[in-house]
Symmetry: C2
Subunit: 182 residues, 2 copies
Amino acid sequence: MKFCSDCGVTLVRRVPAGDNRERDCCDACGVIHYQNPKVVVGTVPTHDGRILLCRRAIEPRYGYWTLPAGFMENGETVAEGALRETREEAGIEVELGAVFSMLSVPHVDQVHLFYLARMRSPQVAPGEETLEARLFEEAEIPWEQIAFRTVEKTLRWWFEDRARQRFDMHTDDIHFGRPKKS
Amino acid sequence: MKFCSDCGVTLVRRVPAGDNRERDCCDACGVIHYQNPKVVVGTVPTHDGRILLCRRAIEPRYGYWTLPAGFMENGETVAEGALRETREEAGIEVELGAVFSMLSVPHVDQVHLFYLARMRSPQVAPGEETLEARLFEEAEIPWEQIAFRTVEKTLRWWFEDRARQRFDMHTDDIHFGRPKKS
């Protein structure tokens, strides 16, 4: 940030009184512009033991496969955001289950949350941000073409949990520079 | 937002191409200024069956009791944020357990997340944002003086779960205008 979004004056980067980290401060109108992590919300949509993946029609990771997910919006709940993204990207209605995974991605200031989700039908209707959407058996998952490590982890947990017939919530952190498992 | 924080020009509120909701758009430099919910992270610190609460030394809800919690910062994980807030507000080190509660508060664009946490000792050292911090037995909890509904819900879930001897993750939404349970 360079300019105050409230008054237009040039901002100063410093530690405000009573704080312990640098912020963008406006010495004209006094506003402190905090910046905080964003929440990415999505689902693991399943139907008869298969998982729905969407192939991205947008950057980053154009052409790679992902679970339906996107930035949570102001004014909605986590569950509403997950349902909205699932509808927008895959064109499907799902019945949400429990929160299944929560992954912090501190180098991009994000938290990713995925819900278990049961598809009401196997029909899909991909939105503008999706090249195609289809259901995958475990053996068909394109592991080398998964868009994000949070999605890969969530998929692996889902198949592990299914194998042991018990779905729990999983948490982990994804750090910069650690390569994707091959 | 009135002015572009990148170039200082007056912003226009409209729906960008390919989007479906109004954003603050800069027609000079082309940047779209998205605004998204913030994450509040905290803990339920316990010691020998008692819960630690902090009495707020800041607004909102000055003088009311709360669990240690605050805004997650860029560059940290959810767990790091919860530990940091617990340290800053109560001056204690805890051993984090599972994620215990997740509450969406859409009318203030927030998601609150609390971890189970075991205190390493009953000693506290309240920080500047805390008037006092102390351990409470269930019968001593000042239910009428709890600062936030997300904290009240989390406390009630904790005592319910302890009574049935099983701690699960809980989720709920807090909507505007619904009064606190008396």
